[in-house]
């Protein structure tokens, strides 16, 4: 929605303002009124650059927020509550990096596709605030990859409102989490040679991991035919087979990637997202042919992904962009601000990725992969007011996140510096 000069904008804005507040100002003065007590959720913010992630960059514009939602975005010189150098949408972390640890996965069985993470969430943990400070406003929380089929991730907001399920969890049953490689077999050992226990079980190798996956899906197909046969999670697996639930499958090294794509083809799974994608360039043709989407493992300086030591060259995102593959960037959650999701697009740009695509890969694309793009992921009217404020052009090494807004609440105030 492109607005012209300020006076015209005034009338248009008034018409677009959401919220039934009694004192809706028709002028664009910086006084915004709020109904309830509590943190302020209505603002006007101006910036030199607004990267909306809809394909447009607005130079010299404003964002108007009303009751925690974006009510208007446009170009024009107006008086706002404060001014920043640049605004991007709040970042969306869609990999499993924000796992809540081993307690997030039910390990009595390797295949628990029906177990949801939501009851295992600790919304009081300080990790959400830390992610929020780094610019991540929406995050996928998935079961740890200790199971082959770990269960159902959820999408949470890292701030805003109260730390309750109602305020923070915006989507459950996001998809089904699976993992290839050595992580699911890491805790297990063969029955012989050790005292018998829960973890003396399959899989103990990569081939075992693949077998568990295949067995589960064959059982689902069998259950479709045979009314007397069923197992825990069969409905969930059938939803994956029908394409109603996406399958997020971690597969970083080349052999795991091929296994994952092979399983996709074998069971004709319509919607597959490869997480921790790394060695995709040598198998670019297979990736393109499969139609899978990717979530890249975090780009590291030494070209090695932190998952399974897979090779992740800096130009991998740019190469995939050229081939038209849908991908998102990710950052396993980290304590160090310089290695957060806000830095990943800069690394990808360094590797040759177009800056517009780099922005989309941490905002609207992950939102789409998680199925929450109607609520977050871009600066558009009606979406959550999740914004990141930058000290300069976003995704440059010399720029930093100076402020973060989530649900219209100013979690990190750019006017005061890096802490609230």
């Amino acid at each position: 929605m492109l607005l012209g000069t300020a006076p015209i904008a005034a009338a248009t804005l008034a018409a677009f303002t959401l919220g039934a507040g009694p004192a809706t100002d028709a002028t664009l003065a910086a006084t915004t009124v709020q109904d309830d007590d509590g943190p302020r959720t209505s603002w006007i913010v101006t910036a030199d650059e607004i990267h909306t992630a809809t394909g447009r960059v607005i130079e010299g514009g404003f964002v108007r927020i009303g009751d925690g939602k974006i009510t208007a975005v446009g170009r024009g010189k107006i008086a706002g509550d404060f001014h920043v150098a640049a605004i991007t949408p709040g970042l969306v972390e869609c990999s499993s990096g924000l796992s809540v640890g081993q307690r997030s996965v039910e390990q009595d069985s390797e295949s628990t596709p029906h177990v949801s993470v939501e009851e295992g969430l600790d919304l009081f943990s300080t990790r959400w605030e830390r992610e929020l400070r780094r610019g991540v406003t929406t995050a996928c929380v998935a079961p740890d990859d200790r199971n082959v089929l770990g269960g159902l991730p959820v999408v949470v907001k890292t701030g805003g409102g109260e730390p309750t399920m109602d305020d923070r969890v915006i989507k459950t049953r996001v998809g089904v989490r699976a993992a290839m490689g050595s992580e699911p077999s890491a805790g297990n050992s063969p029955v012989f040679g050790r005292a018998f226990g829960l973890f003396n079980r399959r899989p103990t190798t990569r081939m075992g991991v693949e077998w568990v996956f295949r067995r589960t899906f064959y059982d689902a197909l069998r259950a479709q035919q045979d009314d007397d046969f069923t197992f825990e999670g069969v409905e969930t697996v059938n939803q994956v087979l029908a394409g109603e639930l996406p399958l997020f499958i971690q597969a970083a090294p080349r052999q795991d990637l091929m296994t994952a794509l092979g399983l996709k083809a074998e069971f004709s799974i319509p919607n597959v997202v490869i997480d921790a994608a790394a060695e995709v360039i040598p198998e670019a043709d297979a990736v393109v042919a499969s139609g899978a989407s990717l979530i890249f493992a975090p780009l590291e300086f030494d070209g090695t992904a932190s998952v399974e030591g897979a090779q992740l060259p800096w130009n991998a995102p740019a190469h995939m962009a050229e081939l038209g593959v849908t991908f998102a960037l990710s950052a396993r959650s980290t304590g160090n601000a310089d290695y957060s999701l806000a830095m990943q697009p800069a690394h990808a740009i360094r590797g040759g990725l177009d800056p517009v695509k780099a922005l989309e890969a941490v905002t609207i694309v992950p939102a789409r992969l998680l199925g929450v793009d109607d609520l977050v992921g871009s600066i558009e009217q009606g979406k959550h007011a999740d914004l990141v404020f930058w000290s300069g052009a976003p995704f440059q090494y010399t720029s930093s996140v100076t402020g973060v807004m989530v649900g219209g609440e100013l979690a990190v105030d750019p006017r005061h510096g890096e802490e609230l």
Partner: protein, 464 residues
């Protein structure tokens, strides 16, 4: 785009061509003249001086002249490197690194008799990566997992023997106020004090022995195969600002001093710089106290973990330079509320007037330009950030006259960048170390693997 145009082929052929052939990186070109001219669209001489359309003349491994093209006299027979698309920048200086060796530390608590010369591996990937990131001088020291470590060395990341790499041998001794793994704070401090106590007792012992007419020190040295000739045969009185002293040390030939105590004596007499590790503010006080008591505070550089910002006042008062390691932003959790607060450490140092350098400590933080760029992001000015990776480390290493800027007389360590030094998309295209062309990105196979997705092993491709 690389232009190498010897203007007189015969002179090039006659001149020694072997100079740069013995470099570790597989991308060196043969240097065929003692002079080298570098042209660049922009020359960053130091953080305050930039020259547009500039020319650098290198002779004998040093910068002979730098200025605008046309205003600088250029030797006509010198090869020319560079072009208008490049930005020339002083080679980055790594103020402290425990990499490039098989292991950073020994298991022994007090081991000043060790020398990194015995563990540096010239073909370690770390030195190759240094060139890739434009680091041309590295202070290799032992790591922090010790009480007192061994001697270090200033090296350049070119050469396939340690001698070829050496810029300054026997440089620096490492101490750690942060407890070695497995030791408690009390044991660490106790061991540290004991080491200097032992030095003192040893010196008093051999002096007493000499006064009693004995010859223990000299006989022991000869038995250990140490020759007492020249300087080593002379004695010198004890000279230190320590709170203790030894009378009569001139009676002992210096070469006869025990191999373990000798380096500590050098430290106490201020003849070798100290790199003192601190994990937190409490360590800083132990470090400063130890250095002051034993006479080497003047030559101490603190190597700090982020939490040490809390001791900034003590550091400023002591007037010692620091090398910052670890994340630039220190996060701490309130034990009662669980709230996290963040402090930008470098700003605290800057505001207290502390001379600080940045460092790139592990493979995922590699590259000083990234550290400098992030420092700007967090709030340092561009000049301060560039200083922190060039002149500040040079100063901390006592090499301010030789390194850190592209001024006349400096060692010719030049990095040719594809753009602004702190910009995201800038790459290191060429590196010149002491006048020799040591790195060319277009010929770097690892760069192709890292940046362009080239297959490291051909046999991974399936046959058609």
């Amino acid at each position: 785009m690389l232009t190498l145009e010897p203007t007189r082929l015969k002179a090039a052929v006659r001149a020694c061509a072997l100079g740069a052939a013995l470099v570790a990186a597989p991308t060196a070109l043969a240097q065929t003249s003692d002079s080298l001219v570098i042209e660049a669209g922009r020359i960053v001489v130091d953080s305050q001086t930039e020259i547009e359309d500039g020319v650098l003349v290198i002779q004998g491994g040093r910068v002979a002249a730098v200025g605008k093209r046309g205003e600088v006299e250029v030797p006509w027979e010198a090869p020319v490197l560079g072009g208008p698309e490049f930005t020339a920048f002083p080679g980055f200086v790594e103020a402290y690194s425990a990499r490039g060796m098989d292991r950073a530390n020994e298991r022994i608590d007090v081991a000043p008799f060790l020398d990194v010369r015995d563990s540096i591996d010239p073909i370690n990937l770390y030195f190759q990566d240094c060139l890739r990131w434009g680091i041309t001088t590295v202070n290799v020291q032992q790591g922090p997992d010790c009480v007192i470590g061994g001697r270090g060395r200033l090296v350049k990341p070119v050469g396939i023997t340690i001698d070829e790499m050496t810029v300054r041998p026997g440089y620096g001794l490492v101490l750690s106020a942060a407890p070695k793994s497995g030791l408690s704070r009390a044991t660490q401090a106790g061991t540290m004090r004991e080491a200097f106590g032992e030095l003192r007792r040893y010196l008093e012992g051999i002096v007493q022995d000499a006064k009693d007419g004995g010859d223990y020190a000299r006989r022991e040295a000869l038995a250990q195969g140490r020759e007492l000739e020249g300087e080593a045969a002379k004695g010198r009185p004890f000279q230190s600002t320590a709170s203790w002293s030894i009378d009569g040390l001139e009676m002992i030939p210096r070469g006869a001093i025990d191999g373990k105590q000798g380096p500590l004596l050098d430290l106490v007499e201020g003849r070798v710089p100290a790199f003192f590790h601190c994990g937190g503010p409490h360590d800083v006080h132990l470090a400063l106290e130890t250095a002051k008591q034993n006479g080497f505070l003047e030559r101490t550089t603190l190597v700090l973990q982020p939490e040490c910002w809390k001791a900034a006042s003590a550091i400023a008062e002591a007037g010692v330079p620091v090398i910052h390691t670890g994340p630039m932003v220190h996060t701490e959790t309130d034990p009662v509320t669980g709230e996290e607060t963040e402090t930008f450490v470098l700003e605290v140092y800057r505001d207290k007037g502390i001379d600080f350098s940045l460092s790139s400590q592990n493979s995922s933080t590699s590259s000083l330009w990234y550290q400098a760029a992030r420092a700007v992001g967090h709030g340092l000015t561009r000049e301060q950030a560039i200083d922190a990776v060039t002149v500040a480390p040079a100063r901390a290493l006592g090499m301010a006259d030789h390194l850190g800027t592209l001024g006349e007389g400096r060692l010719a360590n030049v990095v040719l960048l594809s753009g602004d030094p702190l910009a995201t998309t800038t790459m290191v295209e060429h590196v010149i170390v002491e006048g020799a062309h040591a790195y060319d990105r277009s010929k770097d196979p690892r760069n192709q693997i890292l940046f362009e997705g080239a297959d490291p092993l051909d046999n991974l491709r399936s046959d058609g």
